[in-house]
């Protein structure tokens, strides 16, 4: 049956431009491209091996059929590695124009998945985040700007502050008088400082390559932000960057030991992830090489399966115990974060987490990415981050406990506009995973689970990981962070603000365009055209 699956993409090689260098043939990790030997080589081999079909060979030489690159279209995933590296720009890739009988209910991708499953009997796997055409609330919210009654502020001429802290805060401060002036009496819980309200979210060594993690870590250090080990432990090479790393503790406890916990800046308990709420992780044995094995503390070649729930957390009071166990292990010197997927009851869950003692809550919306997940889960479970964030921020305020936790929002943040909107909805900081991968070269081909990432990101194959230069990629990441930060400053300036905390949770600066009353209510914003 599989043989009847039509290719998704058609690779077109411009034979006139192609100089037959073979770069694409050598590099495509999906084995899409090959050389088809043309007449001259065949002729040479005939001369070497006999002259039986000499006549036919000479016919072809006369027709001047050259060596050519040919594609097995079915294998192409449209990752653009060949396109980007062809020195002659001779490759183009199009979606297969093959027409299906039009049907508004049975779309081609439904048919293809059924054919695939009819053959394999397995789950359809995928990588990256939900790509379905769900409504985007970000795209239906707009920001305010100053005109006349208050001046906008020019970030090139005035200070513009993005510094952000993550950590639990008291509701009030106490002071006592000292000889030089008032002295702070209240002791603040541990926190971590960000130079800009952005972080890189959890992406484990195993899911992504060590080079990709190094790039993230270097960029986190140079930008004064955070990267996150994900659930795969911390490789030795990353120790120098550990002060800018979140160390994750997930249900599989891979790579978790006291040294690991103490090394990081923040400890994060991973409960869930937007791309696959309610299910655990699956790292196929093929991706478990020596390095991954050492770091995760599992045998080479074994599958690393993290359970769907933490088997020591079946309820909120169990979570509280783990939070405090981790605080004990780190002697109350590091904030503890809890990461959850955005699900229907996210507001009540977040409130429970805040009361359970977490310092930071990371909420991952249904557009969040992953290295591997069943398609059925990725595309149909969870809710948009905009809604989840608005609901959580609201609930925490209504209960008067908003200061107790910092909120990090993630899941499909595409640009600084999304960042600003998330902050206005109530996020302290925003995590950008997919965008970070894209900055390193990712083309969102969604094949991360195959371990064949041509860009050296979601793979452990040495010949592929070598393609990602960590220094170069770190520079790209730092550039992205810088670019978005500059844009954030422009947005703040236009809003007449010179510090990001004045935008945080300031929903009055947002308006909805084309949203229903129910949407506006959950988001806590007014419709465009409604004044202050």
């Amino acid at each position: 049956m599989r043989n009847y699956l039509p290719p998704e993409y058609i690779v077109h090689i411009d034979q006139d431009r192609c100089r037959r260098c073979g770069e694409c043939v050598r590099t495509c990790a999906f084995g899409t491209l090959r050389f088809e030997h043309g007449a001259w080589r065949q002729a040479m081999s005939v001369f070497q091996h006999g002259r039986d079909d000499l006549e036919r060979v000479f016919d072809r030489i006369r027709d001047n059929v050259p060596d050519r690159v040919a594609a097995d279209n079915k294998k192409c995933v449209q990752c653009h590695y060949c396109v980007a590296h062809c020195p002659e720009g001779a490759i183009s890739i199009q979606p297969n124009p093959l027409a299906y009988r039009g049907n508004h209910h049975w779309e081609p991708h439904h048919l293809k998945n059924i054919w695939l499953q009819a053959e394999t009997g397995g789950m359809v796997l995928t990588g990256s985040g939900n790509d379905k055409a769900y409504f985007s609330y970000f795209d239906h919210m707009v920001l305010d700007a100053c005109q006349v009654t208050n001046p906008s502020i020019d970030p090139l001429r005035e200070p513009m502050e993005l510094r952000t802290y993550l950590g639990s805060l008291p509701d009030a401060l106490e002071f006592e008088s000292g000889p030089e002036g008032p002295v702070l009496k209240t002791r603040l819980a541990p926190s971590v400082r960000l130079d800009t309200p952005l972080v890189f979210p959890a992406m484990s060594y195993g899911a992504i390559s060590l080079n990709a993690q190094k790039a993230l870590a270097k960029a986190a250090v140079s930008c004064g932000i955070l990267m996150n080990t994900g659930e795969g432990g911390m490789h030795e090479d990353l120790y120098p960057y550990a002060h800018r790393m979140v160390v994750q503790v997930a249900s599989g406890r891979f790579g978790v030991n006291p040294g690991y916990l103490r090394r990081g800046a923040v400890v994060e308990i991973k409960i869930g992830q937007g791309a696959k709420p309610g299910i655990g992780g699956h790292l196929p044995g093929e991706k478990v090489d020596e390095g991954v094995s050492q770091t995760r503390m599992i045998p080479v070649g074994s599958d690393a399966l993290s359970p769907a729930p933490h088997h020591d957390i079946y309820s909120i009071e169990d979570l509280s115990q783990l939070i405090f166990a981790l605080k004990e292990a780190t002697e109350y010197t590091k904030p503890v974060s809890v990461k959850i997927a955005a699900v229907h009851n996210v507001a009540a869950i977040a409130s429970g987490i805040a009361r359970a003692g977490a310092d930071i809550i990371t909420i991952d919306g249904f557009r969040g990415g992953t290295g591997a997940t069943p398609l059925a889960i990725r595309d149909h479970v969870g809710i948009p981050i905009e809604m989840a964030l608005a609901a959580v921020d609201d609930r925490l305020r209504r209960e008067g406990i908003r200061n107790r936790v910092s909120l990090v929002a993630s899941g499909g943040i595409r640009h600084s506009g999304d960042v600003a909107k998330a902050i206005a909805l109530g996020a302290d900081a925003v995590a950008i995973g997919t965008a970070a991968l894209i900055a390193m070269g990712c083309r969102l081909c969604q094949k991360c689970y195959t371990g064949n990432c041509n860009w050296g990101i979601a793979t452990q194959k040495p010949e592929l990981t070598a393609r990602l230069d960590p220094d170069r990629a770190a520079e790209n990441l730092a550039n992205l962070i810088r670019g978005w930060s500059l844009e954030l400053k422009e947005i703040l300036g236009a809003l007449g603000l010179n510090s990001v905390e004045s935008l945080r949770g300031s929903r009055l600066r947002l308006r909805g365009v084309g949203l229903s009353d129910a949407d506006l209510q959950v988001l806590g914003i007014r419709n465009a055209g409604v004044g202050a």
Partner: protein, 364 residues
């Protein structure tokens, strides 16, 4: 439409005078000062607050009310008699003044709280009780509005130019040791007397010139502590922030100022360890209380007058001293109008504050 239903940006004039020796003087000086900045108002709002004007009732809360209907007065008085001992109830004396349209009925009551709890539960002290009662009247009794609720002080305000409002309320007949005034230039026509400034909560009053761009988060922050922002004005936000931070959380006054117009991180980083710790904690814990955008503000309360300017000085604010008088205002001319030969005059710098207090030992 009235204030509270929409947010109305305004440009403004502000002015304040305090005798740090506590010597009382009538309303003429402050009126001259604010009238001098006539151009900064447009006749749609003017007001004054005077401290030390009711010494004979020093211990009683002086409630100033405006009523739009007789029913509103009936309901309010019933409420007051139920919740307070009312020592005196009288019409606020008014005179004829040009430029003043139709005024609401204006009454004042000198009262003492009679209970220790509101319908929402027990309160800490009389101040909390009065605040809660004022909020109840303002939000529940249609057509009634408490616009002044402190002790030995009073707010006088309405729709008109400030100099006309002063004549209307016969302010030359009152004597106080501290006066603050406001002239308003709203961008549309509220036409509601309660919307004029100053805003008074207990004996705190606020006048301000500017627009607080962080209003949205300041409001949500205050709502977390059960403040209801009925008027949707910046002044209300500023008054409540002082109330929350200073009265309820006990943050020293100077640090409250430093929280609302927080120093920049680059300056905090340059400070010594104590300062770094104090200001970092303030910015982190009270980040949502920081006021952003253009403003100059005068906040006054029993014995103290504070001038505050926004973080990058987008609005003017001048201070001056003459003998035992400290003066503040939007323009130097407003100060010189009252005291042409100031001993000292200076501009409040960006993000800075100036606090003038009654001298040690002075009682009023």
């Amino acid at each position: 439409m009235r204030e509270g239903m929409v947010r109305i940006p305004s440009g403004c004039a502000i002015s304040g005078i305090i005798s740090t020796k506590g010597i009382r003087f009538n309303g003429e000086a402050i009126n001259r000062s604010i009238a001098c900045m006539h151009e900064r108002s447009n006749g749609l709002g003017g007001g004054f607050v005077a401290y030390g004007i009711y010494p004979e009732y020093r211990d009683l809360y002086a409630l100033h009310l405006m009523y739009e209907t007789p029913q509103a007065r009936g309901e309010t008085e019933e409420y007051l008699h139920k919740h307070f001992t009312v020592h005196q109830a009288e019409l606020i004396p008014t005179g004829n003044a040009t430029g003043i349209g139709e005024a609401p009925a204006l009454w004042r009551y000198f009262v003492r709280p009679e209970r220790k709890e509101t319908e929402n539960g027990p309160v800490r002290d009389n101040d909390d009780y009065v605040t809660a009662s004022v909020m109840t009247i303002n939000s529940r009794i249609h057509g009634a509005f408490v616009f002044s609720s402190g002790r030995n002080m009073g707010v006088f305000k309405g729709v008109g130019y400030p100099e006309d409002i002063a004549r209307f309320f016969r302010l030359e007949e009152y004597e106080g040791y501290m006066w603050v005034a406001h002239g308003r230039f709203p961008t549309n026509t509220p036409g509601w007397w309660g919307g004029a400034h100053p805003l008074g909560v207990l004996d705190w009053s606020v006048v301000h010139n500017g627009e607080v761009s962080s209003y949205g988060i300041n409001k949500r922050y205050l709502e977390m502590f059960a403040y209801r922002l009925e008027l949707q004005t910046d002044t209300e936000v500023i008054a409540y922030l002082f109330d929350l931070l200073h009265r309820r959380h006990g943050v020293p006054l100077d640090l409250v100022c430093r929280t609302l117009t927080a120093p920049f991180w680059k300056d905090i980083d340059r400070g010594d360890e104590r300062e770094r710790e104090v200001y970092t904690a303030l910015r982190r814990v009270y980040g949502s209380a920081m006021l952003n955008g253009p403003f100059s503000v005068i906040v006054a309360f029993n014995g103290t007058m504070i001038g505050l300017n926004d973080r990058i000085k987008l609005r003017p604010m001048v201070c001056g001293r003459k003998d035992h008088f400290t003066l503040m205002g939007s323009e130097e001319s407003a100060l010189r109008e009252v005291a042409g030969d100031l001993d000292e005059v200076w501009h409040i710098r960006a993000g800075e504050r100036f606090i003038a207090r009654l001298e040690e030992g002075v009682t009023v």
